[in-house]
Structure formats: structure tokens, C-alpha cells
Symmetry: C2
Subunit: 558 residues, 2 copies
């Protein structure tokens, strides 16, 4: 959708000068050539070089790409860990006007083949330890002209069925370290990432140079990243370009730390690098931060992380987690909200001076929220009529957002029409804004219950019911209702079947009365042996809704 | 000059979403409505309101402008002190797509009339205490359709010959506080500022929305401005939009402090506000900071300015000045470089971690330099052949710069051809870059002496010669030379005429030998009664060069 706009008086500014990602590295090379980039090799040893050396390799890589036949607009796939080579690929591929397609090693082969083919990848870089993620379906990748294997070892030691192929270090070897970067129209795609939605095939988001450049500045402003910081790239670089932290580091000339290969089971390597390299900015999610904290507590020498800020996404960080890190030098976990479609920064939980007089416990509670919208976006939480909800911390609406780094469509995908409206991305997330402007996700929108024009959060009800000592599990869904459109129904599994009965129901409703209005209560509570779950262990609300769809229409309205 | 660029693959990002200045205030209103804006009334009392109230008045002002007949593209002049009303005008005028023309109250009536007419101002806002800066030539301002007098008093109490006229508060009064902002093409001018060059008529720079938006983010990144800061707008808002500090404050939701009317003689009001409002970010120049420091030292209660950063422009801050402020809470004076043509940030003297091991005296010496180029610009210091000079801290070249917030022409002005080349602004400033990337201005380029392809700094020579106890004043100029193109000549005024003679010359050369190579010495030293000066007391090098132009060609080469 083209945006309507008015033209004013012409300026004399250099408006033709395009926002190009390579500018970030060019400037780091010119002004911070001595600053270090550290990468953890697979054997655990450290690789170290500088922005100057990185830039030299990026120029060689750009020449190598050109020699291979990569042209502006071509899509170049990458399957790699968080390494300095991935960093180089980001700058070299986008620098020559091609598109780096981020390929998720964790999705199914079927979906990965779809991403590679749908995006039109014609050159594919893949780490030698992940070739098996491509080999099984390589014959289906008709558009791929060449594979480049990324390895720390000499190319002849690498064995793979992918062909034709070359080695990353080998193609760089002979190239010149001079490259005359052309200016690229800033609306050209610099990279692409596919959403890994729970239903259907992945959907393609192609980020422009302009989007990522502005997003990088936004990240630097909100986390106050400067040349005095040491930035660790923990978020996977195949996932929404690792939230762009390495770009922000390059912009300000901060030391960069790449952890290489790690998993949720080996987060101790992250902690060890944080201590050794004196990391001050990190990014991740509670699922990673929690085992990190457990490991930190076991260290013989208590580390001091003074000055450390950690952007945290995915789910609400618990107060225990936040307080746990705070103990090691007033570490700040900054809850942030975003998605593949938003590049990702939309909100960040920054501390407002006007709330400094809140009690310590209120402050911790506040820090769980998704936070304040970052500047530069058109951020709206709207009711079913499209009107913005009041800033009361309780009225739930759906988040719609548009702006320079927000996607306005999926690449070549029919499903675009379901997720975008008037240039806004429909997040599918229901949330509230409180009187201080803090956004809080109540629920995935499809899990919200719409009763008489008002929204009820199923997650909040579930959490409250699970607070009852006799309850093992609880799931709340919205069931069709003749008068109220939908009404909540609770399914409850008890710790001990003996306690079942009206007395227990009464006890649960008494518990709910502490936090909810009567109209928000589930109309009924059903005790069950088991709640249907999906393959990844989440409640299968779809299945519950199907099983109980006539529960309120077929029976008497309470 | 159109920039050559290549197009890549289309993105799915919201690239149509324009960078508009009003977005900064809209977001402050939505997310930081409670944050305070403080302004000093003329009687010294404080006016206080919030971003929310400011935004409400801006919307009323936008409606008032429309009602008066201001259309997108129209130029609206403003002559005002640093007040909340100037702040409102910046957002309202640019918000409706018109151009705020910054009018300098310190230039001559002749030049001011030129600026108003040349820029095509059709509506003129003027503070009641500055109407006399317009009245004498109002009949020459044929394009001005209406004057709006800015006053704290009721309009009927204001007396002026300007007509037709209205009162600022009066035009706001009846307007609605609803305004539906249209999106403005970001390459449209948001404001204009005219250079006050030492020769010729002022030259017009029309900044685009895009330029100022990106510049605002750059200022926030480099000074790490956040919602926890209190930003004081000390640099005059008629001069390169006060370096845009109030924009950066709005972007991050920082408390804002406007000092209203002050002069170099009344900087104590600035200090008093800094103490009372707990200012943490300020901007200015040594000429303002020096009297502030003197006043701070006299305060009965020693203030604590912990956390304060002050961006300092115009001239090198002395170590005495920087150390003086440092005593009051490790205050950082950050030397920055820029000009009207550059919006203005080009460099900022940030502390590099790699130089933390320098001695304290070396650090202070380093802080005098103009500093490190900010990210996002194409910054080149070039020799006469257009080649970049080595980063050796001694080779002088001319600074050329281009980028999204750098001007590429003067509005409707023949002199454009002298100051721009291939999209670069030719600064006319000669400088060096040291091995750590720090830029230092050696001289205005026209005051540099070009000898045998090398540059010699006249200012450095002058300072050295004036270090001799017998010397009262010294001026060094480049004089045409048959072999070396130019050679330096020194004019010296002695404290006591009796000391004149060859022995003294020898003494001066011995002094120079401590800092300069022989080839950099003036070929001759002429003792004079007086050195010609300009009306503002600077050495008139033009006149000196004219008087001595045959000095080396007409006489024997030494």
C-alpha cells in the first residue's frame, strides 16, 4: 500500500545519500580500526581480530562473491553459527546489493527447503557441521548454483555431497582487499528472514537497508550502546539478524563478542566469555538467561557484571531471574518486545524517572512488562472497532504497528492479506497499556476471549487458577455463547482426584475474586484427567475448543 | 548532483513511512506525556508544562497556522529567544509541511532583510522585544503577509509598527487541539538557517526532515541521551536549530530546560537553572562556559553536576576550562565540530577505551581536539590532489564531508559552486587526523600556508611566536614565493620597541625550533607598530597579504 504524502519546499540536504549497511562497517574501520572482535572457535579457543581486519576480509569476500557471479538483487543463503564469518557475510552480501537469506537450522527439512526455494537462493553458504541440514533435499534446490562450505579447517578435509562447492577461506584467499562500494538504493533488501509460525509454511520478510539502518540507530539509542561497551551477539544471527546487535556495535565502534556454537545446554560457555571479555551488553531470552544464572551461582569466583544490560525477548522475565542477575553488579534485564516482522524492536522496558518513587517490589513487577514503545513507530493498541484503548492497564486490544522498520507484507505470499491492514502489521498479540505508557502482552490474540465486546485474558485466568494448591494444570478457552459471543471455560487437572467437587470450585472462584471482576470468571470449571497438548507440549486450545464447542450453547446459560 | 546508485531486490519493509519531525513529539506525547518542559520567563520566574501539554499547544498552533493561510512549502520566519514557544513553532510549522526560517537577531538589518526576502518568508513570528530588529525595513519585506508577535503579555499591551499583525497566544486561543498530521515527503525542508559568513551575504541552508531526523538520532547516540537526562537548550535556537538538542530530548522523552533570554554577560542564569533543574546534558561554547565556570566557583553551596555532559563547539576548549568543570562532579566537556552546513554534528570527542592508558595530561590534551567522526558520514581529509591524508596527526588536509544531514548546495545561490564538489561540502577547514582517528582543526583553510605541496599552520606559528616574552602580538600569513608557491611571513608587534633587532629574531627562531621543522619557519619576521585588524578585532590577513604580496617575489629568496 503506497502511503499518501504531501510535498513541501525542496531541501538542500544530501537526501540522495542512501542508508546502506556497509556504511556502519566502513566507519568502524575508519574510526575504530583497533577495536577487537572476538569469536569462539569450535574447539573453545578464541579467535581475535579487529574491525580493520574484519573490513579487509569483507572487501575480499565482496570480490569473491562478485567473482562467483553474485549480482545485485541475488539471494544468498547462509546456515551458520554466531561467528565472525557470519558477521562478514552480512556486510559483504548486503554491501554488493545482494540479499542474505537467514536460514534457520532448527526448522524441519521440508520448511527449510521451502525457504531456500521460495526466496530464490542461488548461492548457499553452509557451515560444515550443518551440511546434513541441506544434503537430504539438495536435488530439490534447482536454483542453487553453488555451495560454499564454511569451515575452520582446510577445504580438502571437509566432506560433503553438496556440489558444486567451494570453501569459504579458499574463495577469499586470492582476492584483493580493495573494493569500491557502490551506493545501493536504500529500499533494496539487505537480508531476509522467514517467520517460523506454528501453522503453515514460513513467511518471508525482506528487510530493506533503510529499515535495518534506522533499527540499528534505535537499538543503540535505547540500550545506550557506545564505544565503551562490549557487545555479545547471543541471539542467533539466523533469527531476525540476531536482533541487529552486531550492527549497533559496529555503528558505535564497540568491541564485539561472538559465542560461536552453543546450545541451551551449554550456556556456561556464554558466561565464561562474558566474564573473560568483560561483556556489558547482551541479548537473549529467559530460557537462556536462567541456566546462565544457575551456572553463575556455581562459579568459585563471584563475577562482577557492573554496567551490564541484557535485552530479553520471547517471554516475560521472572522477578527471580531479574533479581538473580541484579545481585551480580546491578545487572539490568531489559524486557523488549518484537517479532520477525518488526526487525525486531517495538518496545523496551526502560526505567522512567517519574516512577522512581515506586516501591522496590512495584518496580520489579513493572519490569516484567514488555515496556515502552521506542520512538519512531506508529504504535496502536486497538479494540475491535479500531479505536485505541485507554491507557488504563486493563483494557485489552490488539497491537498494530507501522514504521520504517516494520514489514508491510510477506514476500510473494497470499497470507499477506490476513496480517496487514492500511500499512500496519497486525501483531495478533493482545495487550494493555498502563497509565505510564507501559505495554503488556495479555495473550496471543487468538487466545483472548471476547465476551460482550470486552476481552478476557485466558493466560491470566490460567495462572491464577494454577495458584490454587490443589490444581496441577489449568487451561482456559473461549466457548461460543448465545448472549455474550464467547464465555470462558476452565479445564482443570487436580493433583489429587479426591479433592474434586463444588467446594473446590468455590475455592477457585474465591481465589479468582482477588484479581478478577465477576464477568471475567469462567462460567464453568470442568475437572478432567488430562488437557490435550500439542507436539511441543503447549495446551492445544484448538482441540479443547472443538471438544467443548457446544458447552454453553447446548446447555443453560448460567 | 544526483547520486549514482544501484537497485537490489525489493524489500517488504515500510520504506514509504517518512521520517518526519512531528513523529518525535507525537511519540513523546504518547509515551512520556508526564515529562516536564521548563522555560524561564522574562521576569525570571519559571514556566512549567509537560510534553502532553506542549503537544496540545502544537496541534492548536498547527490549526492556527492553517487558518492564517500557511500552506505546505511556505516559509515562516521566526525571531525568538530559546523558549517553549520557539519549541512549539519548530514542531507546528514543520509538522504542516511548511519551513521554519531561523532568523539571527545578531546580524545586521541589511543581512536580516536579505535572509527574510531571499528565503521567501511570507509569515513572520517575532518576539515583542525584537520587533525593532524588523521595523526599520518592514516596508521592504514585500512577501510578508502577516506578523505574529510573540509575547508573554496580552496582545493589546504590545506596541509595534509591524502590520498586519496578530498575537501568538491570541491565534492559539480558539483553536482545536485535534490535528490530523499528514505524512510529509521526508526530503521536504523542515527549516532553514543562513550562514553568517564573514564575507558577502548570508547563504541559505534548507534542512530536510530526513536530515534532521537522522541527525537527531546521531546526537542521541553520541551523547547517550535518554529519558533519565535533563537537557538544557543553551545553544541559540536560531543558529542551526540550536544543534537540535531539543529534538533529541523529545525523541527519548528527556526533561527539557529552556533558558529564555540570556547573554554572554548573564550566563549566571544558565548556571542557576542547571542547579535547580538538575541538568545532565548541555550545549554551548567556551565563550559561554568560561563565565559560567567563574560564576560556579563563587557559589556559596558547591554544586554537584555528576553525570553532566556538555557539547562544546566554536573553538577549542582550554584544558583549564575542562578541568574546571571536571572538579564539580567529573563533568565532561565534549568538543564537537560542525557548521551550519552540517546540521551540525560531524565529529565528537568521545573517549576511546584503547586510550584509557594514556596519562592524565595526554588525555586532557587529546580532549582539545575536534574528535572522532560520527557514524553515518563520508568524512575525508584530503590533500591538494584529493587524496586522503595519512592518519599521522601532522599532515594537514581540507575536510570534505557528505552524508544524509550534510548540505549539498546553498539555496538559490551562485556561490554553491565554490563550496561543494561531487556531493561533498568543502569545509574550508584544514585539519589533521591522528593515528587514533581524532580530527584536529589546524586552521581555516584560507589561513593555511601552502609551501611546496605541504601545508603550514599560521595559527600554530602565531601561538608559538606569541609565547616569546618580548612579543605582544604576531600574525603569520602566506606570501607568494617563486619557488615554493607560498612561504610564511611573520608580522610582530613588540612590547618594547627597544628590543627589536637580529638578536630577537634569532631568539624567536630558537623558540620555533622547539616545535617546528625548519621548512615551516617564516622566511622572515617583520617588526611593525601595529597589525591591521577587522571590525571584530581579528587580524585582517587579507590586508596583510595585500600589503606584503611582493615581499618574496620582489626580494632575494632567503
Amino acid at each position: 500500500m503506497a502511503v499518501q504524502m504531501i510535498a513541501g519546499f525542496p531541501s538542500t540536504s544530501g537526501d540522495d545519500f542512501q542508508l546502506n549497511t556497509i556504511t556502519l562497517l566502513k566507519n568502524a574501520d575508519a574510526t575504530y580500526p583497533e577495536v577487537e572482535i572476538v569469536d569462539r572457535n569450535l574447539d573453545g579457543s578464541m579467535f581475535r581480530y579487529t574491525y580493520k581486519e574484519a573490513y579487509t576480509r569483507v572487501k575480499k569476500l565482496a570480490n569473491a562473491l562478485k567473482r562467483m557471479g553474485v549480482k545485485p538483487g541475488d539471494r544468498v543463503g547462509v546456515i551458520e553459527f554466531n561467528t565472525h564469518r557470519f558477521f562478514e557475510l552480512y556486510f559483504a552480501i548486503s554491501g554488493i546489493g545482494a540479499v542474505l537469506v537467514q536460514i534457520n537450522p532448527r526448522i524441519s527439512n521440508h520448511d527449510r527447503a521451502y525457504v531456500i526455494n521460495h526466496s530464490g537462493v542461488s548461492f548457499l553458504f553452509v557451515n560444515e557441521f550443518m551440511v546434513s541440514l541441506v544434503e537430504p533435499y539438495a536435488q530439490e534446490l534447482k536454483q542453487v548454483k553453488k555451495y560454499v562450505v564454511i569451515s575452520e579447517r582446510p577445504f580438502e578435509d571437509v566432506s560433503t555431497a553438496l556440489t558444486p562447492r567451494a570453501g569459504f577461506e579458499e574463495i577469499l584467499g586470492a582476492e584483493s582487499h580493495e573494493y569500491d562500494w557502490e551506493m545501493i538504493d536504500e529500499t533494496s533488501a539487505f537480508s531476509a528472514c522467514y517467520t517460523s509460525g506454528t501453522t503453515g509454511l514460513p513467511k518471508g520478510v525482506f528487510y530493506s537497508h533503510r529499515a535495518i539502518y534506522l533499527h540499528t540507530m534505535t537499538a543503540a539509542v535505547n540500550l545506550k550502546i557506545s564505544s565503551r561497551d562490549v557487545v555479545m551477539q547471543t541471539v542467533p544471527m539466523f533469527h531476525c539478524h540476531g536482533w541487529g546487535f552486531f550492527f549497533a556495535a559496529a555503528m558505535v565502534g564497540a568491541k564485539l563478542v561472538f559465542p560461536g556454537l552453543y546450545t541451551a545446554e551449554t550456556t556456561n560457555v556464554l558466561v565464561d566469555m562474558m566474564v573473560a571479555e568483560k561483556v556489558t551488553v547482551n541479548c537473549g531470552a529467559p530460557a537462556i538467561f536462567l541456566p546462565m544464572l544457575e551456572y553463575i551461582k556455581t562459579l568459585p569466583k563471584r563475577p562482577d557484571f557492573t554496567g551490564l544490560r541484557m535485552a530479553s525477548g520471547a517471554t516475560e522475565p521472572s522477578i527471580t531471574l531479574m533479581k538473580g542477575f541484579w545481585e551480580f553488579g546491578r545487572v539490568e534485564i531489559i524486557h523488549a518486545y518484537g517479532a520477525t516482522e518488526t526487525a525486531p524492536f517495538v518496545t523496551a522496558n526502560l526505567r522512567k524517572p517519574s516512577l522512581d518513587n515506586l516501591s522496590s517490589e512495584e518496580q520489579w513487577e513493572l519490569k516484567k512488562k514488555q515496556g515502552l514503545p521506542v520512538s519512531g513507530l506508529d504504535f496502536r493498541v486497538v479494540d475491535s472497532k479500531g479505536e485505541e484503548v485507554p491507557h488504563d492497564g486493563s483494557t485489552v486490544g490488539e497491537l498494530l504497528v507501522r514504521g520504517p522498520w516494520i514489514t508491510t507484507s510477506y514476500y510473494n505470499d497470499e497470507r499477506t492479506k490476513d496480517s496487514f491492514v492500511d500499512g500496519y502489521w497486525k501483531s495478533g498479540d493482545g495487550g494493555t497499556i498502563d497509565e505510564n505508557g507501559f505495554f503488556k502482552i495479555a495473550d496471543r490474540f487468538k487466545d483472548l476471549i471476547k465476551s460482550g465486546g470486552e476481552w478476557i485474558s485466558s493466560i491470566d485466568l490460567e495462572n491464577a487458577i494454577m495458584g490454587h494448591p490443589d490444581v496441577l494444570e489449568a487451561s482456559v478457552v473461549g466457548i461460543e455463547h448465545p448472549k455474550w459471543e464467547e464465555r470462558p471455560l476452565a479445564l482443570v487437572v487436580l493433583r489429587n482426584k479426591e479433592s474434586e467437587g463444588e467446594a473446590l470450585k468455590k475455592g477457585i472462584y474465591e481465589l479468582l475474586a482477588k484479581r478478577f471482576a465477576r464477568w471475567q470468571f469462567p462460567d464453568d470449571i470442568v475437572f478432567v484427567e488430562e488437557i490435550p497438548k500439542t507436539s511441543v507440549g503447549k495446551f492445544s486450545k484448538k482441540e479443547i475448543r472443538a471438544s467443548y464447542k457446544d458447552f454453553y450453547t447446548g446447555s443453560t446459560n448460567k
